[in-house]
Amino acid sequence: MGVPVDARKFEELTLPLLDLLYSVGVRYTRNREDAEDLVQETLLRAFRAFDRFEEGTSLRAWLLRILTNCYYNRYRRRVHERRAADLPADDPYHEGLVSDASLRCLRDPEATMQQPLVSDELQRAIDRLPEAFRVVFVLTEVEELTYREVADAMGTPIGTVMSRLHRARKLLQQDLLRGREWAVDPEAASGEEDVPGAAGDGGETGEVVRLRTAR
């Protein structure tokens, strides 16, 4: 258990993480001003609750967990109220509309790699991902958090992080590389919510993979 911390010390610890919190806040809210409010609320809550932070654990995961909770508790409702009308009716990535069968894999990955991605297109494609996939994807691929940290931040099992990340990658690849060589690859198209037998969640039988769970 930690102890109450003074504002200056708290600031020292958390200011280096401000860009990360803000970046994730922007991914959640898709709006910079909302993200600022979210980060401010997160840090104030964290300051008041700092005696509950366990030393030796990941501070950024702890702060991201608080940020996630803030977002779901208060923010999401408000933001969704405001944006409900703005959601495109034909948004193919609106949660639940993407069938597993539409997840594809490349027939000719070598040829695809010849053409670089375009930044704006990537940004828009990330924003189109369903929220849970979007945040997991950004935390691992862009912010380079470990799966364990992402699981702690999202409050989900590590197997869920793995499967969401897998789906997010396939959705993005499909979205961005549409028009390049595609073929259905049922092996890579699995989209179940949890990876069966991912050790660390108390794996079941079936395909088993062992993660570096020591971290």
Binding site: A7, Q40, A199
Partner: protein, 295 residues
């Protein structure tokens, strides 16, 4: 080695690429990739895609004002917490206050304008401080104070703020070369009316400022630059700290105390309601002279 099926390998290429797999499973995947060109191509593709995402994805940086807002709100939350605790802590606070008064009595130097010789703790001894100031005027006369201040937490904090801003672990919240704009920014954020120091030496440029703490008091931090050297000026409420130092100088009509910690020198003086502290790796005599210039 058992290499696993294509399906198994493809499923876990992501965690493999991310370095998240147990070494034994990572080795199984690598063995498979060595013997399966299709999966190897897919693995190269996954790495390429991850690299493209990292290269291109926008990582929005928090705007300066967010750090300021958070800093301000944290201090407000802290004050609220202090008020709540003050009731039950009254006894120990009174005891601590007594201690502070005692320290202040011991450490306080001569009052401004009275000159260092008015204090019996001053040993009349020229400082002989080395290092030529950037301006041509002679180094001011210095006197060695009997008391050493190496253990002074005030000094430690001053040097700490300076070094952390220089190393950019404490960002400037405000970037401006305009003293008037800086004064306006600090309005209401520090418990005194800040006059942003202006120096007679025109080569000194204001870079910006931020809120900081010295002891438990809100203070203003101002960052300047002189010929590639960083100069920090901290403005602290005058009742927060006693003013003293290893050496005392009379310069520009005020008494300036100077001390050093390693390569870093600092000069402090009282001006009405506030205490100014200049911290830099500039020579001590330069700092003292700059302190004398502040208007």
């Amino acid at each position: 080695m058992e290499t696993g099926s294509c399906g198994w390998v493809r499923r876990f290429l992501g965690p493999w690429k991310d370095g998240e797999l147990d070494p034994a499973d990572a080795a199984r995947i690598e063995a498979h990739l060595a013997s399966c060109p299709a999966c190897a191509a897919q693995a190269r593709f996954e790495k390429w895609f991850g690299g493209e995402v990292r290269r291109l994805a926008d990582r929005p940086r928090a705007p300066e004002r967010l750090a300021q807002r958070v800093s301000f709100e944290l201090r407000r939350a802290q004050r609220a917490r202090r008020v709540r605790r003050a009731a039950w802590a009254a006894g120990s606070v009174a005891a601590a206050a007594g201690l502070v008064l005692l320290v202040a009595f011991v450490a306080r130097g001569p009052s401004p304008g009275s000159g260092p010789t008015a204090d019996r703790s001053v040993v009349a001894q020229p400082s002989g401080a080395g290092g030529a100031p950037p301006s041509a005027s002679p180094a001011p006369p210095g006197f060695q104070l009997a008391a050493r201040h190496d253990g002074d937490p005030f000094a430690a904090e001053l040097v700490d703020r300076h070094e952390r801003v220089v190393q950019r672990t404490l960002p400037l919240e405000l970037a401006t070369a305009d003293g008037g704009a800086a004064a306006a920014w600090f309005q209401g954020k520090v418990p005194f009316a800040l006059r942003v120091p202006r120096f007679a030496d025109a080569r000194i440029r204001l870079r910006g400022g931020r809120l900081t703490h010295v002891g438990d008091r809100d203070a203003a931090y101002l960052g300047y630059e002189l010929q590639g050297h960083s100069l920090s000026v901290l403005v602290v409420p005058g009742d927060a700290r006693p003013v003293g130092g290893e050496r005392a100088y009379d310069v520009g009509g005020r008494t300036v105390f100077a001390s050093s910690r390693g390569e870093i020198h600092y000069a402090v003086f009282r001006d009405g309601e506030v205490v100014y502290a200049l911290v830099s790796d500039l020579p001590e005599t330069t700092l003292v002279e700059l302190a004398g210039q502040i208007r």
